[in-house]
C-alpha cells in the first residue's frame, strides 16, 4: 500500500512544470488571454511533444493509456500556471467519451487523431452536467439540431462532442455549415465559454455504450475531478505567492508575515489547502480503481476543492493588499481560473446534492 504519486508521476509533474515555467511567462499569458480562444498553438504543440495530449488514449490507438490520476497530476500543474489550453474537453473528456460511446471502428478512426493533437474537441451536454441555461438538442437521422450553452473548450475546437439525453453521443465537425458557434469571453480569459446552434448539422452517431447513463456520468465525473485538480493547482499558486509576499513585504518595520493576523490567515489557508491534495489524489485513483467510490469521490472533490479554492483566492488576494486588486501582478488570472472551475460541470451545491442522491439521502 502506497498513498502518493509514483516516481513516473513525479517525473511527469516536474518535466511539465519546467516546460510551463519556461514557456508561459506572464507577458505570454496576457497575450493569449487577450486573444480569448483559450488556445495557444505553441503550448499545444509542447503538450503534444510531451505526450500529454494522448495520454488517456489506449496505446493501441496511439496514446499512452495512462490513468486519471495522471490527468489530475497534469491538471494541477496546468492550473498552477493558469495554462490556456483545451485540456479538459479535448484531452480528458473527449477520449473517455469515444472509448465508451464509440464503436471499435470509430475509436480506431478518432482516438489516434486526438492522441496526435490533430483534432481538438469541445464537449457539450444536454443534461446532467449541472449546467444552467436552456439546452436542447435532438437527432433526426444523423442530422443534429438544437441549441447548447455553457460549452467547454470550443474556442479552437475542430470538432464538438455532444452527449444527448437519449444515451447516444454525436460527433460533429465544428466547421460544418449547420453549426454556428458563439465564443463568449468568460471571466477566465484563458478559457472561453461558448454556445452552439445546430441546424441539421451532419453528425457521426456514437451509440455503443453498454450503459449510456453510466458512461456519461463517468465522463462528467472525470471532468469534475480534473477541475478539482486544476483549482488545487491555481489555489496552490496563489498560496505560494501570498506566502512569499508576506515574508518580503515590510510594514511598520516588520515583514507582514510576522503579524499574527497575517500569519494566522496563512496558517488557516495551509490547513484548508493541504488535505485537498490527498482528496484529489484519492478521488482520481478511485475513478479507475474503485468504481463503487468513484462517483461520490468526484463529487466531493469538486465541491470541497471549489469551496477551499474560493477562500484561498479571496484571502491570498487580500494578503497582497492593494496590489492584489491590480492588474500589475496578474494574480487575478488565478482568481478567475478558480471562479471558472467552480461553476463549470456543477457548482458545489449541485455536486453535494448529487452526492446526497448517490448515498440515498435524497428522496428522488
Amino acid at each position: 500500500m502506497e498513498f502518493g504519486l509514483s516516481n513516473e508521476q513525479q517525473l511527469l509533474e516536474s518535466s511539465l512544470r519546467r516546460f510551463l515555467e519556461g514557456e508561459l511567462s506572464i507577458e505570454r499569458l496576457r497575450k493569449v488571454a487577450g486573444i480569448g480562444t483559450g488556445f495557444d498553438a505553441a503550448l499545444w504543440e509542447g503538450l503534444v511533444g510531451q505526450g500529454i495530449v494522448g495520454f488517456l488514449v489506449p496505446e493501441h490507438f496511439g496514446g499512452t493509456g495512462l490513468a486519471l490520476l495522471d490527468a489530475a497530476v497534469v491538471a494541477e500543474s496546468l492550473g498552477y500556471h493558469v495554462t490556456p489550453l483545451p485540456f479538459l474537453a479535448s484531452v480528458v473528456m473527449a477520449p473517455l467519451t469515444l472509448m465508451s460511446f464509440g464503436s471499435e471502428a470509430q475509436q480506431a478512426e478518432w482516438l489516434p487523431k486526438i492522441a496526435s493533437g490533430e483534432v481538438k474537441m469541445s464537449m457539450a451536454f444536454v443534461d446532467g452536467a449541472g449546467q444552467t441555461g436552456c439546452n436542447s438538442a435532438w437527432l433526426k437521422g444523423n442530422m443534429l439540431s438544437g441549441h447548447l450553452t455553457g460549452v467547454l473548450d470550443a474556442g479552437a475546437a475542430s470538432h464538438v462532442l455532444v452527449l444527448l439525453t437519449d444515451g447516444r453521443a454525436a460527433l460533429v465537425d465544428a466547421h460544418d455549415t449547420g453549426v454556428t458557434v458563439d465564443v463568449h469571453a468568460s471571466i477566465d480569459r484563458t478559457r472561453p465559454i461558448s454556445s452552439y446552434a445546430f441546424s441539421g448539422a451532419k453528425a457521426i452517431i456514437l451509440d455503443a455504450a453498454a450503459d449510456a447513463h453510466e458512461a456519461a456520468t463517468r465522463v462528467i465525473d472525470a471532468g469534475r475531478l480534473v477541475l478539482a485538480a486544476d483549482t488545487l493547482g491555481a489555489a496552490q499558486f496563489m498560496f505560494d505567492r501570498a506566502l512569499d509576499y508576506s515574508k518580503e513585504r515590510v510594514q511598520f518595520d516588520r515583514a507582514i508575515g510576522s503579524f499574527q493576523a497575517v500569519k494566522h490567515t496563512i496558517a488557516d489557508l495551509a490547513t484548508m489547502l493541504e488535505p485537498c491534495r490527498a482528496l484529489v489524489w484519492y478521488a482520481a485513483y478511485a475513478q479507475d480503481a474503485l468504481p463503487e467510490e468513484a462517483r461520490i469521490m468526484a463529487l466531493h472533490a469538486k465541491a470541497h476543492v471549489s469551496e477551499v479554492g474560493r477562500e484561498v483566492a479571496r484571502l491570498t488576494t487580500e494578503l497582497h493588499g492593494g496590489m492584489g486588486f491590480t492588474d500589475l501582478l496578474g494574480l487575478h488570472y488565478w482568481f478567475k481560473r478558480i471562479a471558472f472551475d467552480r461553476q463549470i460541470l456543477g457548482a458545489p451545491e449541485y455536486c453535494r446534492r448529487e452526492a446526497a442522491k448517490v448515498q440515498g439521502w435524497l428522496v428522488a
Binding site: 500500500m1 469521490m297 446534492r353
Partner: protein, 406 residues
C-alpha cells in the same frame, strides 16, 4: 498510488475480524476514560496485548508485542475496531503521550519500569504542564525543584491536570535552574501522586463536570533518578510529548466515526415530519462536513504512507490538530442543531456512558471547545504552522527593539 492490500494485509484484516467476532462482546463500551479502567476494561486490555492488537510495536521486554513498525498494519487494526464499534483498548495520556516519549528519549530502566504497567492500564498518568500563569507560554512554568539529599524537592501549582484525581503518576515540567534561561532551565520529572505534599482540587468546567483539576505541590520529594533525560532537557522532552498530543487531537479515525454518528442521527430524527437528512439546509451542512472529513481521512493516509517511507511531513503533520478539532466541533454542532429543542435537555450522570443522547451531544460539543484549547490552542497551532511549518518570521517578543517601539 497503490491502495490495494497485499495478501499479508488481507490476512491480518481477516484475523482481526475473526477476533472481534469471537471476543467482541467482552469489550467494554467505548467512550469511557473519566474513571480508572474497571475490571472489564483491564481484562479486555490484557487480551488485546496478548494478540498484539495493542502496543503492537512496543518491544517485548517492555510488555508489548515486539513487531516492527508497519503503519498499514496499525491502520487496518484501528479501522476494524472502529468500524465494529468495539474498544481498541485503553486510551489515556500515559499510553498515548508518555509511552512514546519514553521510547524516544527515556532511559532503558525507565522504559522497563513504566511502559508495561502503563499499557496494561494499571498505572494511570496525568500531565503536569500548564500553570495558572503559563498556558500557551509553556516554557514560562514557575513550578521549581531543587536538589536536596539526593532528591528533587518540588514546589508550585499546576492546572488543567485531567485524571489527577485518580492518577498514580504525573509527568511534570518544572524549573530546575533559574539562571539557564527560559527554555534551558527546565526538567521533566516523573512523580508519584501519592507523594506527600500533593493536593488535588477538582476544577469544574462548563460541562458541569470536574474533568480537570488544580494540583498543588508543596515540598514534594522524589528521587533524583526520576528525571527523563538530563537536567535542562525538559523543554526538549516536553516537545516530544506535545508532538504525540497534537497527532492524537484531530485523529481522522475519530472524525469518521463521529460523522457516521451524525448521519445516523439525521436519518432518525425529523423536523415537521421529514427526516432531517432530507431537509436541504441541514443536508448541505452534513455534506460539506463529509467532504472535509474525507479530505482529512486521505490526508491522514498520506501522512501514514510518508511515515512508512521515513519521509518528513513538515507542515502537513502540523495542521492535523487545528483541522481535526475544528471539524469535530462543527460535527457536534450540527448534531446539537438537528436535535433541536429535544437536544436542549442536559442531565449529566456520573459516568459518560450513562448519559442520554442529548446530554452526550451537548457534552461532546462543549468538550470539543476544550480540545480546541487544550494541547496548544488553535491560535498557538496557527503560530506553529506559520513559523515552524511555513517559515514565517516570529512575532517579536517583548524584549526586541521593534516591539518596544510599538
Amino acid at each position: 498510488m497503490d491502495l490495494s492490500y497485499g495478501p499479508r494485509y488481507l490476512a491480518l484484516r481477516e484475523e482481526v475480524r475473526d477476533f472481534i467476532k469471537q471476543y467482541g462482546d467482552q469489550s467494554p463500551r467505548t467512550g469511557g476514560g473519566r474513571k480508572r479502567p474497571d475490571k472489564r476494561a483491564l481484562d479486555w486490555q490484557r487480551l488485546l496485548l496478548q494478540r498484539g492488537y495493542f502496543a503492537r510495536t512496543i518491544p517485548k521486554e517492555y510488555g508489548g508485542f515486539g513487531l516492527p513498525l508497519d503503519v498499514m498494519e496499525l491502520a487496518i487494526i484501528a479501522d476494524e475496531f472502529s468500524t465494529a464499534g468495539v474498544s481498541a483498548g485503553i486510551m489515556n495520556q500515559g499510553i498515548s503521550m508518555l509511552v512514546p516519549t519514553l521510547l524516544e528519549v527515556g532511559s532503558r530502566e525507565q522504559c522497563a519500569k513504566w511502559i508495561g504497567p502503563t499499557i496494561r492500564g494499571e498505572v494511570i498518568w496525568c500531565q503536569g504542564y500548564s500553570e495558572p500563569g503559563s498556558g500557551s507560554d509553556l516554557a514560562a512554568v514557575k513550578t521549581h525543584a531543587y536538589v536536596d539529599d539526593g532528591r528533587f524537592v518540588i514546589n508550585g501549582q499546576k492546572i488543567w491536570t485531567s485524571s489527577a484525581h485518580f492518577a498514580d503518576m504525573m509527568f511534570l515540567l518544572c524549573r530546575t535552574d533559574a539562571d539557564k534561561g527560559k527554555h534551558g532551565g527546565l526538567s521533566y520529572l516523573l512523580i508519584p501522586m501519592s507523594a506527600e505534599g500533593i493536593e488535588v482540587r477538582p476544577l469544574i468546567t462548563m460541562t458541569g463536570r470536574a474533568e480537570f483539576n488544580e494540583t498543588f505541590l508543596t515540598n514534594v520529594r522524589v528521587p533524583i533518578d526520576q528525571i527523563v533525560m538530563q537536567r535542562g532537557d525538559g523543554w526538549h522532552v516536553a516537545n516530544v510529548t506535545l508532538k504525540y498530543e497534537r497527532l492524537l487531537l484531530g485523529d481522522p479515525n475519530k472524525l469518521a466515526h463521529r460523522l457516521a454518528r451524525v448521519i445516523e442521527l439525521m436519518r432518525r430524527t425529523s423536523l415537521i415530519g421529514v427526516p432531517t437528512i432530507e431537509i436541504p439546509e441541514y443536508r448541505d451542512r452534513l455534506l460539506k462536513l463529509q467532504g472535509e472529513v474525507l479530505a482529512s481521512k486521505f490526508h491522514g493516509l498520506r501522512l501514514l504512507s510518508e511515515q512508512s517511507r521515513d519521509e518528513e511531513s513538515g507542515v502537513r503533520r502540523l495542521i492535523v490538530k487545528l483541522n481535526g478539532t475544528m471539524i469535530a466541533y462543527r460535527l457536534s454542532s450540527l448534531a446539537v442543531d438537528v436535535l433541536g429543542a429535544a437536544g436542549l435537555s442536559y442531565e449529566p450522570k456520573g459516568e459518560a456512558l450513562e448519559d442520554d443522547e442529548a446530554t452526550t451531544w451537548q457534552i461532546d460539543n462543549m468538550y470539543d471547545i476544550g480540545l480546541i484549547i487544550g494541547g496548544g490552542s488553535s491560535n498557538i497551532q496557527r503560530n506553529i504552522i506559520g513559523e515552524r511549518g511555513l517559515g514565517l518570521p516570529r512575532e517579536p517578543t517583548a524584549n526586541t527593539k521593534s516591539a518596544q517601539k510599538v
